[in-house]
C-alpha cells in the first residue's frame, strides 16, 4: 500500500521511514513524501493511481492541507484515495472543515504512531 505523506517539515520523512521500518521491510507499506500541497498535487498528477492513502499536514505555507484535500476530492475520484488530515491545532474548526471537505480521518500532532499504525493496518 502506497502512502503519500505531505508535510513542510523535511524531518518527517526519516521519522516515518524509521517508525515503519518493519512494515516497509516487509512491503506492507510504501512511503512517498511531498513538502507542500503543490508538490503533492504534481506528484498525484503522475501517480494518483498508485497512491492509496494520503496523510497531510494542515498548516503549511502556501497551499494548506485543507485546500489540498478539496483539490484531491475534486480532481481524483476514481478511485478516491483515502485522506487523513494532521494538525498541530487539534481544534474543532479544523476538524469540522476537514470532515466537511471529505477527510477520512483527523489526527493531531504529536502523532501517536502506534495508533496510526493500527488505523493503517485495518485499512489493508
Amino acid at each position: 500500500m502506497k502512502i503519500l505523506v505531505v508535510d513542510d517539515e523535511a524531518d518527517v520523512q526519516p521519522l516515518f521511514l524509521q517508525r515503519f521500518r518493519k512494515e516497509i521491510r516487509e512491503h506492507e507499506f510504501e512511503f512517498d513524501f511531498a513538502l507542500s500541497g503543490e508538490d503533492a498535487l504534481s506528484y498525484l498528477h503522475d501517480k494518483h493511481s498508485e497512491v492509496v492513502l494520503i496523510l497531510s499536514d494542515i498548516n503549511m505555507p502556501g497551499m494548506s492541507g485543507l485546500e489540498l484535500l478539496s483539490r484531491i476530492r475534486h480532481e481524483y475520484d476514481t478511485p478516491p484515495p483515502m485522506v487523513m488530515m494532521i494538525t498541530a491545532y487539534g481544534d474543532e474548526e479544523n476538524h469540522r472543515q476537514a470532515m466537511e471537505r471529505g477527510a477520512n480521518d483527523f489526527l493531531t500532532k504529536p502523532l501517536d504512531f502506534s495508533l496510526l499504525k493500527e488505523k493503517l493496518k485495518t485499512l489493508i
Binding site: 517539515e9 524531518d11 526519516p14 521519522l15 524509521q18 517508525r19 521500518r21 498548516n59 505555507p61 502556501g62 497551499m63 494548506s64 485546500e67 498541530a88 491545532y89 481544534d91 474548526e93 479544523n94 472543515q97 500532532k109 504529536p110 502523532l111 504512531f113
Partner: protein, 441 residues
C-alpha cells in the same frame, strides 16, 4: 542791585538745605551749618551795606565784590562736597551771576567813570543772570520730574516683568513636568507595544516550539526502538544490519539535537523580544533573524485565523556579511513589517476573487556598505493620501483595539535613529507594498 547776589546765595543755601531734608543721615549733619550760613548771608549783607555806605569811593565795587565773592565761595564749597552732588545744576546756575558781579566789581575799581556810565547794562546783566538761575531751576525741576515719572514707570514695568517671568517660569516648570510624564508614558507604551506584539506571537511561538518538541519526542522514541532492534540483530549475528541501525541511531540523535536547539533558539528569541532593549549591537545573521520572525508572524496569525494562508517566499542572499545590530530591535521591525504585510493580504483576500494568492516576499542582499532587506506583499497597498502618515506615532488604519499605531513609528526609530539605517516605502493601492530597509554593516 547788589541784593541779588545775597538773595541768590541765600536761596542756594535754602535749596541745599531742602535737598537734604529727605536724607536721615545728611540732614542732621548739615542742618545747623546751613541755617547758620543763611543767617550769615543776611549778616554779611547788612554789614557790607553799612560798611560800603561809609566809603568815599568804590562803594558799588565793594558791594559787588563781596556779593560775588560770597556766591563764588558758596559755589566752590558746595561743589567740593560730595553730599551736594545732586545739586550741581543749581550750583552751576549761579556761576553767571557770580561772574557778572566779579566783572562789574573789577570794572568799577579800574574804570569807575566808565562803569557808572554802563549802569543800565550792568543792572540788566545782573537781572538776567539772576533769572537765569530760576530758568535753570525750572527746567531742571521739570527734567527731574520727568525722570521721576519715567523711574516710576520703570519700576512698575520691572514689577510687571518680574510677575511675567515668574508666570513663565511656572509654565516652564509645568511643561517640564508634563514632558517628563510624556517621556515616562512613551517608555511604557514602547514596552506595552513590545508586549502586545509578543502576545500576537504566542500562538506562533507555541507552534514553533511544538514542532521541534514533537520531533525530539518522536525521534527519541523511535531511537529506543532502534536500539532494541540493533540488539536483536546483534544476537542474530547480522552485523551488517546492526551497523546500518547504528548509523540511523546516530542520525536520529543528531536530529534530536538539532530540534532541541531549534526550540531553544525560539525560546531565547522570545525572551529577547520581551526584554527591554539592551541596546547592545552584535554581529547578526539577518537571514536567520528574518526567517525566524517570518515564521513566528505567520504562525501567530494562523493560530488566530486558521483559514488564512499565504505564500512565504524568501530570497536570502548567501554569504551576507554579519551586520552590527540590536537583534531583538531589528527583529521587532521585521515582525512589524511581516504583520503589516499579512494584514494587507488578508484585507485584500476579503474582496479579491478565489484566484488571489496572498504572498509575502522577503529578500536580503548586500549593498556594499549596507545590508538590504525588502519585505513585499501583494495586499491592499497604501492609499496615497495616508502614505505620509504611516510613520507617525499612533497612526493606524486598523480598527480600534487591533493596532497601537506605534509599530512603524517605532520601526523608524529603531532603523533610522538607532542604527543609522534607512526605511523606504513603495506602494501601489490595490497591488501591494514594499518596505525596503538598509542597515549599515
Amino acid at each position: 542791585m547788589e541784593i541779588f547776589y545775597f538773595i541768590a546765595a541765600f536761596l542756594l543755601i535754602k535749596r541745599l538745605q531742602k535737598s537734604l531734608k529727605t536724607s536721615f543721615l545728611l540732614y542732621p549733619k548739615w542742618k545747623t551749618m546751613l541755617i547758620t550760613a543763611s543767617w550769615l548771608v543776611i549778616v554779611i549783607y547788612v554789614v557790607t551795606m553799612i560798611f560800603a555806605s561809609n566809603l568815599t569811593s568804590s562803594e558799588d565795587a565793594v558791594k559787588d565784590l563781596v556779593g560775588s565773592a560770597l556766591l563764588f565761595g558758596l559755589i566752590y564749597f558746595a561743589n567740593k562736597e560730595p553730599d551736594f552732588e545732586s545739586q550741581r545744576v543749581y550750583l552751576y546756575a549761579n556761576i553767571p551771576l557770580a561772574i557778572v558781579g566779579f566783572v562789574t566789581a573789577i570794572a568799577e575799581f579800574i574804570a569807575p567813570v566808565f562803569a557808572s556810565g554802563q549802569e543800565n547794562y550792568i543792572a540788566l546783566a545782573i537781572i538776567a543772570a539772576f533769572f537765569w538761575i530760576f530758568g535753570r531751576w525750572a527746567t531742571t525741576k521739570k527734567q527731574s520730574e520727568e525722570l521721576r515719572i519715567s523711574a516710576e514707570r520703570k519700576a512698575e514695568l520691572e514689577v510687571l516683568v518680574q510677575e511675567r517671568t515668574l508666570e513663565l517660569q511656572k509654565q516652564k516648570d509645568e511643561l517640564q513636568d508634563t514632558l517628563q510624564e510624556l517621556k515616562t508614558t512613551q517608555a511604557q507604551l514602547i514596552q506595552s507595544e513590545k508586549m502586545a506584539s509578543l502576545g500576537e506571537l504566542t500562538a506562533g511561538i507555541a507552534h514553533e516550539i511544538q514542532n521541534p518538541l514533537n520531533f525530539v519526542n518522536n525521534f527519541s522514541e523511535v531511537t529506543a526502538e532502534l536500539v532494541d532492534e540493533m540488539e536483536l540483530e546483534l544476537n542474530k549475528g547480522d552485523k551488517e544490519e546492526a551497523i546500518a541501525i547504528a548509523s540511523d541511531i546516530k542520525q536520529n540523535l543528531e536530529k534530536i539535537m538539532h530540534h532541541g536547539k531549534r526550540a531553544d533558539g525560539i525560546v531565547k528569541g522570545m525572551l529577547q523580544h520581551s526584554r527591554a532593549s539592551s541596546n547592545v549591537k552584535e554581529p547578526t545573521d539577518i537571514n536567520k533573524l528574518a526567517d525566524e520572525y517570518l515564521r513566528l508572524a505567520y504562525h501567530g496569525l494562523r493560530a488566530k485565523d486558521k483559514s488564512f494562508n499565504a505564500d512565504l517566499v524568501t530570497h536570502f542572499a548567501e554569504g551576507l556579511p554579519a551586520a552590527n545590530m540590536v537583534p531583538q530591535d531589528i527583529g521587532r521591525v521585521l515582525l512589524n513589517l511581516f504583520n503589516n504585510g499579512f494584514y494587507a493580504v488578508k484585507e485584500k483576500q476579503k474582496t479579491a476573487g478565489p484566484d488571489y494568492k496572498p504572498a509575502i516576499e522577503v529578500t536580503t542582499s548586500s549593498k556594499g556598505k549596507s545590508i538590504e532587506i525588502i519585505v513585499k506583499d501583494n495586499g491592499v497597498g497604501i492609499p496615497d493620501e495616508i502614505k505620509e502618515k504611516i510613520l507617525q506615532p499612533f497612526f493606524t488604519t486598523k480598527p480600534t483595539g487591533e493596532g497601537t499605531g506605534l509599530g512603524l513609528s517605532l520601526s523608524y526609530d529603531i532603523v533610522v535613529k538607532a542604527h543609522s539605517g534607512k526605511i523606504d516605502v513603495k506602494s501601489k493601492p490595490g497591488e501591494g507594498s514594499e518596505f525596503k530597509i538598509n542597515i549599515p554593516v
